[in-house]
Each structure stands twice: as C-alpha cells, then as structure tokens.
Amino acid sequence: MKGRGLFFYAGIYLLFLYAPIILLPIFAFNDSTIIAFPLSGFTTGWFAELATIDALHDAVRNSLFIAVLTAIFSTLLGLCAARAATRYRFPARGGLMTLIMTPLVLPEIIVAVSLLVVMVQLLDLRLSSWTVIAAHTLICTPFCIAILNSSFQNLDASLEEAAIDLGESRFSTFRLVTLPLVMPGIIAALLISFTISLDEFIIAFFLTGSEPTLPVYIWGLLRFPQRLPAVMALGTILVALSILLLIVAEYFRRRGVARAGKEDSGGFL
C-alpha cells in the first residue's frame, strides 16, 4: 500500500513538473493567437514568424556571445580551483572551497541586487554584456568546480607522477596526461555553464545595458499578447536545445568516469 502511495506521489510530481513544458510545443504548433484549449489546427507559422523579428536575432546573438564567454571563463576558473583543491593541501582549504561554492545556494535575486550595487555604485561600471558575463561567470563557476572536482578526484595522482617519472615536465604532463583524462569533465562544464548562462533571467535583467539577452527579450515580449504563440515556439526551441546540451554534457561526464576506469559516483543527471 505504501509503495502505491509513493508511486502516486511521484506521478503527480512529474505531472506538475513537466505539464507546463509539454504545453509549450502544443501551443507552438497551434494555429491560433489565443493560448487556450480547444486547439484549432496545426501550423508552423509561429516558427516562421521568429525568423522575421530582428530584435530577437540581436538578443539571440547577444545571449550566445555572453553564454560562450561565460562558459569559457567559468570553466577555466573551475579548472584551476578543482585542480588546486584535489592536488594541493593548503591552510583553510575546506573553508575556502565552501566560500567558492556558496553562490550555488544564494538566492539569485540577492546576487543580482548586490552585483548591481557593486558594479554601478562602487565600481562605476557602465552596464553592458560584460557585466552580465562577469555575473554569470560568478554563478556558473561553482557548477564547473563541482563537475571538475569529480573529474580530478577520479584521476589517479600516480598517473601524473608516472609521466613526470618518464621524463616529461609538469606542463607537458598536464597537456599529455591530465588534460586528455579530464577533457570529458571540461566539456561537461562548458556545456552546463553555457546552458545556465543562456537560460538565466534575473541577473541578466538587472545587469544588461541597452542590449537585452534572450530571456530578458522574451520577458519584454509578454506584454504583446499577439506575440505569445511566437514566444511558445521560441520556448520550444530553447527547451529542446537545453535538453540536448544536458544529454551531451552527461554523456561526456560518464565517458570521463569510464575512461578513468572508476565507479560512477553520480553526476547531475
């Protein structure tokens, strides 16, 4: 009896979680400007309309630019932090790592407001894509550290020592042994931080200048009801892309675990 109750609970949970997302493609292909049942007919017209909105294209370009740079910066930072945390012993290592990881659990609105204060009031920066990149790097780095930490922990330290023992320098050892073995983790970190940055709204909303990111642009579109089906179409594309990226990221993470010949200690998926 107890098992059935849990099963029921899980079913309800999944329904609430995914029903809105399933509604996205349904209305994206519905031939009506009104988002309501019953459905009136099938069309791909909303997707075609997306191609004609120039402001949307600018927002997409801007978001991609921010997401790519965020992914690169936060993965590089994550790489350094994870490497240091797994290979070197230094004072207050535990405390320092906790500090670095806290943005993971801080409410984003707090992060956004405090960053706005710091950047505008204290540093007197002009809001632009770069301020968004800086903020996104801050929130993505903990994810990258978490992923790369597990990559480095799965990497037997004697592999690096063996390469040095066989005559390689520290740098060439990193290039020939460490990098190839943690590469799956690096790719996973790049993909995850790219996805987070692409989807992120609150911080981008606070910190963008004159050029909105895609989520900020979509939020602006909601004021125009006739645009709603096009937003649904855009949402469908984004959901599909996000799922694809997560699957690819997880694939690389698992391959990394298999390659290092270790037990899977669980990832994000």
Binding site: D156, S158, E161, I164, D165, L166, L181
Partner: protein, 367 residues
C-alpha cells in the same frame, strides 16, 4: 654479494623525512650496489614508500642527501634523475594504447619513428607481451598491466628501477610466477632493482640484499640467508619467517662456556656467537626456527636434547605439516614443521610428542 664488491649506484646519507611533526624516515644511511636486486621490507606504515619516493625525487628529504651514481640529487626533479618507477597502481595511461604507454618515455629521446617502434616491440617482447602493442591499455589483466608498467620503465634503460609493491595486487599463482620472472629480467638487463614489499617471503626469494625497516629506521641490512639465520634483534627475527620465542635464564660458566636454561626445553650449552647483542647473564629469550626441531617417532631412541609434550594443533600443508606442541611442565608451546615423508604418520591433536631440538640452532636475545 655485499655492497663492498659493487660500485654504489644509490647512496643515502643520514636521510631524514618529516611530514609536519611526523618523523617518517629516521637517519637512513646505506649504499645500494650497481646491478643489485635490493628489497625494502617492513610492516605497513614503516616508511618504505616514502624512502622509495625520496630516491625517485617525488619527496624532498628534510635533511641528509640522496646520491645517485655519486651525484648529489638535492633539488633534482624526478624527470632529471636516472631512475624510473613502477607504481603500486601501475599508473598505466588509460587513454593510450599499450604501445603508446610503453613508448611514452621515448618522446624526448630524439629517436625516429621506426626506431621508437622497434624499441617498443623489443620492450614488449622482453616482458612477454609481443603483439599486444595495438591493444587498449584498459583491456588488460592485472598481470599484463604489471608487465606494461615494467616495459614502460625499462625502455628508458634507467640506472635504477624502483618498484613499489608491484606484485601485491596479483593473485598467489600470478605473484609467484612474476617473482621468478622479475628476478630473471633483472639478471638479464643488469639494472639495479629496488623493490618495496611487506611480504618477507617475497623479499627472501628475490633479493640479493634486504633492508628491514621499522618505524622509519633500518633495523637490519643483510643478505636473505644472514637475515634468516642471524637476525640482529627479536623484532627482526619475529618479522622474518616463523620463530619460537621461549624465556630462558643465562648462566656464565668458566671461560667462554655459557649455559642457557630454557623453559620447557631444559639446559643447553651455547656459544656467544649465537647472541646478536651483548651476552649478559640473567633473563633472556631464545629463538628457535620451526624447521630446526623434529618430533621423534614413537619408540625411537632419544639422543641429545629431547623435550616431552602433547600435540595441541596440527596444520597439514601437503608437503609439510606444522605442529603446535604444548611442552610438559610449562605453559609454553612451540611451533615446528615436519616434511611429510612416506611412512611418516601425521600426528593428531592430543597425541604425545617427543620434540628433538638442536642447541646450535638457538638464538639468544638478551632483554
């Protein structure tokens, strides 16, 4: 086989190592000869790996010096030392093929591609893995990984090969096979091997000389025979093979004559050469190896030194039987081993046993 006869390739001079306040190596000084098969033997945590990594250059000495071929190695990085290491985990690069693993160290050799390939083939053939080059390193058994690690280290023709418990991950059969193979390989290439092991039998079988380590110190450095026959202390005697310890009373007679009165065995005349330390009258312990005692057959005449007892335990090993005999009159047992010959009955627990022993086999450890 002592180091005096050989040119020392590795010299340690008062090597000390601290991990924080933990004193891991305590004043280690020794010379290891060119072409020697040398073992570092000791219980877990005694500092064997630390000493090996100090020679390889992965650990810096806190004080003292490591000399390789007469050259002081202070501040010399592992990649600049004429040593190569076989790691306990083998450290086979999982993203490379067997041939790429074995040829890894040749990247900086300046050899042409076909010369490298030939060197790799030779190295693989040497460890009995000819034709395995194209395989993925992950598709190998434990024994094969071990061989790849050996080939990878030996291809660089190091002056010294360092092996950290290379056989401990293998099953018993495989381990015995690799022991003789390693020994044969070492004689073939003539390179100095320094083997870390906690298995005293393995050290005895394979080594020219053995350094026994306890708690960061060398307790004894000797050939296998010396180590087994003349351990310098009770601890070494206890660690190498099986040794029976019995309390005894030492009495000095006139001249050089010394007598030991051993609990359960009785009195015996001994020689001062049988005592590794200073021979003092009074309480002491004597050590006796199991194979130096025998159980006399029933009715056989008991000459020399015979003690009466009862079989307490018996373990049958096929070729040998080990007996634990409780000696009459004292709360004391001795372990002894007997070859299983045709016509010799295996005794069962509870049966009486007359134990014949030889005072010449006694070792005396004064307290």
């Amino acid at each position: 086989m002592t180091d005096g006869a050989r040119h020392p390739i590795v010299s340690l001079r008062d090597v000390e190592k601290f991990y924080g306040s933990y004193h891991a190596l305590r004043g280690i000084s020794m010379d290891i000869g060119e072409g020697e098969f040398f073992s570092l033997l000791g219980p877990s945590g005694c500092g064997k790996t630390t000493l090996l990594r100090t020679i390889a250059g992965f650990e810096e000495v806190s004080s003292g010096h490591v000399l390789l071929d007469g050259q002081n190695m202070d501040g010399v990085a592992p990649n600049r030392r004429p040593t190569n290491m076989v790691f306990q985990s083998y450290a086979i690069f999982p993203h490379l093929s067997v041939a790429e693993n074995v040829g890894f160290g040749l990247r900086r050799s300046g050899l042409a591609g076909d010369e490298k390939a030939r060197a790799v083939d030779e190295a693989l053939a040497m460890v009995g893995l000819a034709g395995y080059g194209a395989r993925s390193a992950q598709a190998l058994s434990g024994g094969q990984r071990q061989r790849v690690a050996l080939a990878r280290a030996l291809i660089l023709k190091p002056r010294v090969l360092l092996l950290d418990e290379p056989l401990s991950a293998l099953d018993k059969k495989m381990r015995e096979q690799m022991q003789s193979e390693l020994r044969r390989l070492q004689r073939h290439v003539g390179i100095t091997f320094i083997l870390v092991t906690h298995d005293q039998e393995e050290a005895l079988i394979m080594s020219d000389r053995i350094a026994v380590m306890f708690e960061g110190e060398i307790a004894q450095l000797a050939t296998p025979q010396e180590l087994y026959r003349r351990p310098v202390s009770r601890e070494v005697a206890d660690f190498i093979g099986v040794m029976n310890f019995l309390p005894a009373e030492i009495r000095m007679g006139s001249g050089t004559a010394v007598e030991a009165d051993i609990a359960g065995l009785g009195p015996a005349a001994i020689d001062s050469a049988q005592c590794p330390g200073a021979l003092r009258p009074g309480r002491a312990e004597v050590g006796l190896r199991p194979e130096t005692m025998t159980i006399l057959p029933e009715g056989a005449p008991g000459e020399g030194h015979v003690a009466q007892g009862v079989v307490a335990e018996q373990s049958y090993y096929g070729d040998m039987t080990y007996y634990v005999v409780r000696l009459d009159g004292v709360d004391q047992t001795v372990t002894l081993s007997m070859k299983n010959r045709i016509g010799r009955a295996v005794l069962e627990p509870g049966m009486p046993a007359r134990v014949s022993w030889d005072p010449r086999a006694l070792l005396v450890f004064s307290g």
